[in-house]
Symmetry: C2
Subunit: 167 residues, 2 copies
Amino acid sequence: MAPPPSTAVSPVVALIVRVLTFICLIISVIVIATNTATSIVGVDQVNIKFNDFYAYRYMLATGVIGMAYTLVQTAFTIFFVTTGNRLGGDGLALIDFYGDKALSYMLATGAAAAFGLTVDLNRLPGNDSDTQDFLNKANAAASLLFIGFIFSAISSIFSSLSLPKRF
Amino acid sequence: MAPPPSTAVSPVVALIVRVLTFICLIISVIVIATNTATSIVGVDQVNIKFNDFYAYRYMLATGVIGMAYTLVQTAFTIFFVTTGNRLGGDGLALIDFYGDKALSYMLATGAAAAFGLTVDLNRLPGNDSDTQDFLNKANAAASLLFIGFIFSAISSIFSSLSLPKRF
């Protein structure tokens, strides 16, 4: 009988990191998706929503894709923790490796794109308090996505260290 | 005698990827650092430089740090290719792994921050041709940094696959 595929870290630790990633992403998605403001431009009132900005749309998209991916991975990890069987064995280790890497890059770019826009919008003179509030919420969502990225980067390190031995 | 530390890919391939990363980064840094424009706001002329925007400053910083790191790694790889000795052995493999990972995340966020700002600035109504030119150059620099990121991500995959066998 072949020895069961081992992993570099305890699957329970891996599971906790996945769950933390998911929590950060879901809060980030909720914060950005519900973010609206009414800004006064001259004599007009303008409604601002997150989807007026491509950077925030991209951030939302990465958050949602990240949630879906993390959910699937969490299910696999729970299966591993409860039964002790790793579905797919070494083949799955490679899929984990590339998947975690791709996801962590995606979350990093999602958070960075939102920060890149928000930081410079924040510096514009004459933002009224409602606009400021909108930008603060966008910042909060980007920060949460960034924390989610940190956790997904940790998952990515775990899955790299769990790769089958050198080819 | 211990067998010489092996790598997952030929060191020549690793060297080519490093050199390509460096070329992309140096062109990106030159393009963004020399990017200026004169914009007309009302009756005033306003000089715009890349360092008026935090996102572009961050992009430049990641490009410069990336150049320094890639240069050192290229030197090590050239030493490996020419002498066949890998300095540091398995210890260096771990440093490569974490270093390449960190660098590729940094380049990804640098490019994404610049894109996040540029895409939405581009959509503002009433950009004059000089401003448009400025934004196009910023876009070009971000695109080059993004290509540099792709190469550094490939380096990061190589260094993950070259990790010493599972702990």
